[in-house]
């Protein structure tokens, strides 16, 4: 949902040509991108806080025993979730900057995981090792889907540092590509 919002916010700047006018008025392209990235960051922080509050409330309702030590037990998941959202929004922003058309960008964003899955399925066995490094996977691995918990009664209950590192690299790359693209474009 947030991804679609970001895509519309960036592609509208292209289709209404307000980006062009803003640059004419004296905004540098970097300033413009920074303003969009800052918005992404804000959205991510708000989402993370939201999850935190929901966690607190549901925890309060369902806990068998109220103790501060349980309240902050799985705290690292909150910033990890924030990073997950921010990386995803950076990806959405990059797609928007590159494609510039809202419809196509939203479609591509929604099917990104599917497309990645298809690529992964067709990957030769020798390249098996790079699978966890694919962008969508990297984003998902930050906070793994807890659905398996109910199947296997077991789950990764910590945030792995490796997955944080991979996501950070992708996050940086997405925003860097956006910048490169915006810098070189005639708008």
């Amino acid at each position: 949902m947030l991804g679609v919002l970001v895509v519309i916010s960036i592609t509208n700047e292209y289709s209404y040509r307000t980006l062009r006018q803003n640059v004419i008025d004296g905004v540098s392209r970097l300033d413009f991108l920074i303003s969009k990235i800052t918005t992404n960051l804000g959205l991510s922080i708000v989402s993370a806080l939201f999850i935190f509050v929901i966690g607190l409330v549901t925890g309060l309702i369902y806990t068998p025993e109220l103790d501060w030590k349980y309240v902050f037990q799985s705290m690292p998941f909150v910033p990890a979730y924030g990073l997950q959202i921010f990386t995803y929004l950076s990806f959405a922003l990059m797609l928007g900057v590159i494609i510039q058309r809202s419809g196509l960008t939203i479609l591509l964003l929604l099917f990104a995981s599917t497309i990645e899955l298809i690529i992964k399925l067709n990957l030769p066995d020798s390249l098996e090792v790079i699978k966890p490094y694919f962008p969508m996977d990297a984003i998902d691995n930050l906070v793994p889907n807890p659905f398996l918990k109910y199947v296997f009664q077991e789950i990764q209950d910590y945030v792995s540092l490796a997955s944080v590192a991979i996501a950070l690299v992708w996050m940086f790359l997405f925003n860097f590509f956006s910048y490169r693209r915006l810098k070189a474009a005639d708008i």
Partner: protein, 299 residues
């Protein structure tokens, strides 16, 4: 005079199309500079490069003697092509936003709205504006930061005759304040009326540049009629003649510089001919423009 803008061998290619080719140009402070050229001759591309929205292929340009920086554009008011604003904001909100970008005070907003006569519509959404109002809002936004240089690209496009006259008046008024104006247009009449200097572009090449006053220099062109043999031979023997050709019901005579229509009339009278038709044609920018374009080599 202080140089406001200097362009040096500026070039832009779109694929194999040369949109702007090796343009070199200088604009001094206080000039009202007209850029003329048919559609697709590179006017907007040039202005786009000057305003940082189109990346140049090669060459350089400088504003106020400095290399282009983002900050410099805040001192320039520009309207390129059609006006661009956020459609879901009101005129007032759009101007507030622009004032923020240009780091100018919002206190200027009522003033510029007054200049373009949009004060009573300022709280309506931009998308409800007519084309002329959008155009005027764009000019208001360009004037917002009290710019040293004003760039206008087809400012009277789509306006009614009254609107055109108003904008023309506005441009003249702004020019009298000592501001430099760069005006791109294909309305020659407009350029002749408001500009002090002009350049002509053709397919990305600059084929002419000079002051507007120079238009109309050179020999006088006179219509003489009606066509008959006696007049023909008399004209042929006139000492001040450069060329002569038939056109409709009269001869079109080009005279040497310094020779006036009275001289020709007097000569004809002495020859015992009374011409029934004798009109001096004033050379307009339009004729000059067409001449320049047809003379220019097509590359």
């Amino acid at each position: 005079m202080e140089t406001v803008l200097s362009i040096n061998n500026l070039t832009k290619h779109f694929g194999r199309i040369k949109a702007v080719n090796n343009m070199t140009l200088e604009v001094k402070r206080g000039m009202v500079f007209g850029m003329l050229g048919p559609n697709g001759s590179g006017k907007t591309t040039t202005l786009g490069m000057l305003m940082g929205v189109v990346n140049k292929t090669s060459g350089s340009f400088s504003w106020f003697g400095e290399l282009p920086k983002d900050e410099i554009r805040k001192k320039i008011g520009a309207v390129l092509e059609h006006p661009i604003f956020y459609p879901y904001l009101t005129g007032q909100q759009n101007l507030e936003l622009n004032a923020m970008i240009k780091e100018s005070t919002p206190a200027n907003i009522p003033k510029v709205l007054e200049i373009v006569e949009l004060s009573d519509r300022k709280d309506d959404k931009y998308k409800t504006y007519s084309l002329g109002m959008k155009q005027r809002l764009a000019i208001a936004s360009a004037l917002l930061n009290d710019p040293i240089v004003l760039i206008l690209d087809e400012p009277t496009n789509g306006l009614d005759p009254m609107g055109i006259a108003e904008i023309r008046k506005l441009i003249k008024k702004i020019a009298e304040d000592g501001k430099t104006i760069i005006l791109a247009s294909h309305l020659l009449d407009e350029v002749q009326k408001v500009c002090s200097h002009f350049a002509v572009l053709k397919k990305g090449n600059m084929v002419y540049t000079g002051p507007v006053e120079d238009v109309g220099k050179g020999g006088l062109v006179i219509e003489v009629g009606p066509i008959d043999n006696q007049l023909h031979s008399a004209l042929k023997n006139f000492h001040g003649i450069v060329s002569m050709k038939d056109e409709n019901n009269h001869f079109l005579v080009t005279l040497q510089e310094g020779i006036k229509s009275q001289d020709l009339n007097k000569y004809l009278f002495e020859q015992g001919i009374a011409a029934s038709h004798l009109i001096a044609r004033k050379k307009t920018l339009e004729q000059q423009f067409l001449e320049i374009l047809s003379e220019a080599p097509t590359s």
